[in-house]
Amino acid sequence: MAFRHKNTRRIEGLDSNVWVEFTKVAADPSIVNLGQGLPDISPPSYVKEELAKAAAVDRLNQYTRGFGHPSLVKALSQVYERVCGRKIDPLTDILVTVGAYGSLFSTIQALIEEGDEVIIIEPFYDCYEPMVKMAGAKPVFIPLRYKNDGNSTSSADWVLDPAELANKFNSKTKAIILNTPNNPIGKVFTREELQVIADLCIKHDTLCISDEVYEWMVYKGNKHIKIATLPGMWERTITIGSAGKTYSVTGWKLGWSIGPQNLIKHLQVVHQNTLYTCPTPLQEALAQAFWIDYKRMDDPDCYFYSLSRELESKRDRMAQLLQEAGLKPVIPDGGYFMIVDVSTLNVDLSDVDEKQPYDYKFVKWMIKSKKLSAIPLSAFCGPETKRQFEKYIRFCFIKFGCASKSDLPKSSRFHFSRGLQSW
């Protein structure tokens, strides 16, 4: 039978990704999975209670407003008005999407097309590249480079070279994707660094897609700054957020895009032609959770701040264990990932698949022999920089605690430290 039904060009070559490879391998329950970024801590109880309450209301089990459930977009506008210091219209300046992932997709489909170039800062959350390609555009990479000579101990040591960045902009540059706090390094871009990016965006009339899903996970001494609040930037920036990261409910898959009406309206068109509306009870529950925390945004008990404090101690504990094992972690200023240079261990990887980058081979070896999994950093960079990043692997530390002493032997922290000790 003649069968000419192959896939369209837009998805050619976009079928493989690092997750498909590694989540399968790490699904083995005997392996301590510190790779994929999902919490193994419970979401706060009031978040679960609000969902139960929402599901009990009949009409909340049926369709809601396509661009975002009214009570949710209202709550988001209040929270972000406070954070940004400007008026945000809940109906025209916000789109609720299926996770921040859905926001990235809607933004790129709405505003990027063939002939466009999009600047992506390496290392980057891996979906940016295939999404830009699926939109027919060309990704242009620029790496963060560490400024100290060899010895990077903090995510702040990784910086963009302003001249190198300026060179990447040209008349075809439609957008730059910014991720702060950054996944995987955990870098929190400073105001000065953001200003360099902003100046270039304004000079070249470029859009900014700002992925800020880890916005609340910022550690002592650092401040999350929204590039959209810099002069001249609101009108050209889409800021993306995530309920999954904010409330430790990655499985709710709710995110949002916030920006000026004349950009958001195009994201809304994409949304109405892709999935139309997001689940109702989850949106209602999220709205109620936001009200609870909005009211205590001046209070240190607000979940946005308490989660960050909890994560900071997990960060420090993981860093300590790594250092005691003779490894050099890069201490992140934000986010819940930590990268580590593993080349210093000089592990013999000769019998692992030759054709892969060093870090891929290392992680596979580590899974097999140490029952620990992580994600190779070269998964987060473009083709040119694999050599630069392949000596690093990424660990996730949001899954790094345990509720009680009796839980300790089962906890990932315990197995992690045991696994490290045998090195």
Binding site: F3, T8, L38, P39, L51, E235, K253, P279
Partner: protein, 455 residues
Amino acid sequence: MLRRAGQSLHHFLLGRKSSAGYSSYSSEAKMSRPVQARRLEGTDKNIWVEFVKLAATYSKVNLGQGFPDFPPPDFLKEAFVRALSGENHMLHQYTRAFGHPPLVNILAQFFGKLLGRDLDPMTNVMVTVGAYQALFCCFQAFIEEGDEVIIIEPFFDCYEPMTKMAGGTPVFVPLRPKAPKDGKLMSSADWQLDPAELASKFSERTKAIVLNSPNNPLGKVFSRGELELIADLCVKHDVLCISDEVYEWLVYDGKEHIRIASLQGMWDRTVIIGSAGKTFSATGWKVGWTVGPNRLLQHLRNVHQNSVYHCATIAQEAVAQGFQRELELYGKADSYFVQLPKELQQKRDWLVQSLDAVGMKPIVPEGTYFLVADISKFKSDVPDVPDSDEPYDSRFAKWMVKNKGLAAIPLSAFYSGAHKNNYNHFIRFCFAKEEATLKAANDILQKWKREKTSP
């Protein structure tokens, strides 16, 4: 190059500005090009945005947008609460991207049974954010510039913009009404494809045909003969079939929903789309699925992993439990899939009577929870406006919700732009409503009839 510059100039002359303002350093190309991508062209209009707002503002009785005003069944709501509050708090975190294992497992079992096939849950099933996203994945995976997609009118309105967004060309073919037998009400079965006309729509550019059975808005349930007609053409022209079967359980009068994928030569070229929202009266959960051969589903997985990646976990867990129950009760009186159509058939009959009594001529649907009625006899209240851009039924529906508080959707919403005036004296009602709602609708209609000063 010249054509693109011309297009830019066209947009510039239309006064469309780059959102971010002008800068003396920007190139001419960016200045004159609109900020949004060209794939959005012709896809921005959406009937629901307008009509949902009107219903929210004016309606006392909303029979417009298609969702039940009764709750999902208790067993499903209980499953949801168990999932969110149970010991396993990992149900609040990411699950498998292509479908939560308990759900794809039960779907493979259930649909395997219905199709008489062994289905692999990992490769023959994929979960999506509602059937809507399943449709999107199909268009993105298989349709691009140069491809034609056959769409049967009247159609669920998203098929057209999805085709266009994928760069494809929609080719429309209408269901045509045959006059019913004397004295009988028209049935959705009386709306049929002309076989020669359908055959003429297939060309070497035809990539896919979208089939929706039971059909929204008419409620038509395609017969085996009609499906075979379509299947033969698909096989002859090597065309894909996107089979939207979200209303598969809502079939009345003992009719059978036949799955086109079960016909000769069709499994390999069909993607079947289903919906928990319609199956379990929980449209707000947005859980849908695709079933089909791996060589087609692999490309849907590709689109899915590059667009939404994961679907929400808890609702998937609950829907899995719902299907487990239905598998055990399959065919029995207690099965929700037996009870729901029974209840809806009664409501259908009720609404048919209501409409017929006041002079709106209902087309009795064989399936779905929609009913289309001919409103030509009500023209006295809403006179024709010659040279109006807006189709008559749209004006009528707006007038009706504003003046009578009864919301319905104009049938022209389900036709392509060129054909909106071909069937412009029909409106669509949704009858998946509590008795009280249908009674209130009846009261409005009765009062309206009494108040009419002329026939």
